[in-house]
Symmetry: D3
């Protein structure tokens, strides 16, 4: 049985993430979606919120489990018995970072394979940063994030005008 880990910050989970998780869940027997518990202040949501939103978004995938973690992805993979780390591929800039991470991970854990899945075309232009910017500027999020995530983002950015990190991208 091949177990795969899909690590990320999922801040918050988008339909692009859901797409990758569903693809991975179709290929591998079990998929562990691992929400990285980085103590960084530039996150929009807490670990608890990010895990909860991911769980709700992926509830329909029966062989997928969402957990939080800290430490190295390869250590997590070993802990859960995974042979595979899954990553989504969108653009050239993704590609280089993913290659770097794949080489570093292999160095630390040669027995674990990195597998890159191309995103669906319709999500290839999606990033959590862009979605936050759209929300902040009052734009629509249907088709970009799950409904409950859109609600959480709207509450975060529009319900509380003084809220934390303000992404600047779409109009930069």
């Amino acid at each position: 049985m091949t177990i795969a880990v899909y690590p990320g910050s999922f801040d918050p989970i988008t339909l692009g993430h859901v797409d990758i998780a569903a693809r991975a869940a179709a290929i591998f027997e079990r998929l562990v979606v691992a929400v990285f518990d980085a103590p960084a202040k530039s996150l929009t949501f807490t670990s608890e919120d990010r895990i909860a939103m991911a769980r709700e978004a992926l509830a329909h995938l029966t062989n997928v489990e969402v957990i939080g973690f800290h430490g190295l992805t390869v250590d997590l993979a070993r802990r859960v018995g995974a042979q595979v780390i899954v990553r989504g591929l969108r653009a050239v800039s993704d590609f280089e970072v993913e290659m770097q991470m794949a080489f570093l991970n292999r160095r630390m854990a040669p027995e674990i394979e990195v597998v890159c899945l191309p995103t669906s075309l319709e999500f290839s232009y999606l990033s959590a940063t862009m979605i936050k910017e759209i929300i902040r500027l009052g734009g629509p999020t249907e088709g970009l994030v799950p409904h409950h995530v859109g609600e959480a983002l709207r509450q975060k950015y529009l319900g509380d005008a003084s809220t934390g990190p303000v992404p600047r991208f779409l109009n930069s």
Copy 2:
């Protein structure tokens, strides 16, 4: 009559921006240069300053108007009756961001076209960040920014040593 919007933060306007605006003004009947009023602290200049510097830099283009705006670029485009959003293209990294923004904007406003103009060769290596770094390190800015913008940058970075965000790039 085709009206075009050229959005950006213009923090501050460079000769690369002026080049793109002039090209767009030659193609379209009217060009609205829209200075994004993002309330973010990582800006070097206030909205008022950015708008004023852009106005002075573009005063010679008679069919160009400079305005401030907040909200989504596509909403602004609709408000001013523009059918076109203009963007400058310099490098591969620009390209990917522009494609992402074009797809997102089309999703929100399919009736508005995104048009990318390649910069002049001589400005293809210019960015506001790099110019600020050159200024901060005491380098010359002739040929990079309009004269009045160079003055404003020098006052900002050299006249007040404790000033705000310090770009780190040229020597990184």
Copy 3:
């Protein structure tokens, strides 16, 4: 009145080309789709066939005219009174070639602007070479090329097994 030229070999015209032509026709008063009459043997269709297929594919766009041409694009642009050369942008590899061509064209004709239009997401993975390969291998072309072009390709590649240049790509 802004006249634009959209040059290419159109061997044959795809729905990606039609998409770019429609976008350009919405922005500019008149669009001249210019089919390059290169005497190269690596073409699949004759100039006459390529022009005829393009004309049929673009017949619904009333301000679009299809012509054949030889020589430099900038000379053609001057001949038809165009101020703009239109190019489609799909991928990073497109981007570099387009930038090179834009710089060369400007050198030869500084008064003519190059305008790049991002393709629709659904056509961003399309190329004439890939379509020929799909046809040759017996795959479906609905949604990739206009119906009459699909017929012509099938006749070319499947009706006559010994036909000319055989693209090798999809399985390479």
Copy 4:
């Protein structure tokens, strides 16, 4: 049981291909290495030779089978009951082609996933074209291709000076 197809021309198989096949064989229950039987003249080896060299190079991988095929990769995948198409990723230029092929394949067979595996660092600069050029110029191939492939290449390029397509790359 997840079955994967690893398609290619393998003209000839390199240690980079062997690396990807071994990685895929470690993840999936069964791997079908599919040698594309393209009737193109720019191939260096016949289908029979390419299949035989691949079989010898992969004989140590017990869950790997080498077959020839013609037609679309997605049709082959369906024929052999594969849910996955495996592709190697080396460089940015690979990346764009792979994304295009992934989107086209999904369009034709949405039930089949494309999985990209980053090559080992030591093979990231390898291509069959470069290896042929090295051979042709009398360079060493240890560590680039399996021993029997190096022999076959030397015989092809050095034993018969008038042989077929001459790659030009290393010194271009």
Copy 5:
């Protein structure tokens, strides 16, 4: 005698930097490794620490000198009589930044050449940011940074949990 300057923030020096310095020292008569004294808070180490770590890491290269500097790299080059600025090349993203910097530097000092050296394959995936992240997450740094740098990083990140800027990359 050709003197070269290798500028950077070296925060801290990695084995990738050591590799580039050794290559440059083999080509040029004298190499000045110049540690940029940027007063930015996002640095992990002080200028003194960065210079000291670089000196220890490069002590085996007899024609290499490590100095601190502020101001423009081209001004430094002139001050030390260097005709060449050396830069390491790892990835496509490096490439674009280096090209931009080369063009800007030439504009300011046409008599000074920029020379890019490709990193060793084994260091092509290394960045100071990634190394800090690995350290912070408890991973091994053998083969990534000199021993004394690894110690300094571990003390910085693990000995003092409340320490400054926290890179987020590997699990993002």
Copy 6:
């Protein structure tokens, strides 16, 4: 004394090549411009012509020598006592090929360094292929190739209409 080799097909030499050679000649004590004697038919000029044109174009650089060669570049470098192979860098697509070649060359000759020089901005969009296309279509070549090379190209392409390989690029 550092000797450098600048290898290429120089078919024909352009002002971009001259620019790189002049930069290298300013850094290194001696520069050997090595014209690759590939027996490929896709060349436009014979080895003799390519060498002669390069010699005339570089006659003003007193420490530069032009030779023909066949075989591997690293073997040539060893033969002439060079420690350095020089390559020009123009675009991202150049970059990847150069990195691949650098890694392969290091594998074969670890004692020889590869040094990449960014081209002048004004030549960054130049390629021999594009220049041939411009010539063939009747365009001007001032500022692209040395005068005698322009003459040779015009004679080749315009004086003899049935001449060899016809590049297709500018209008493709």
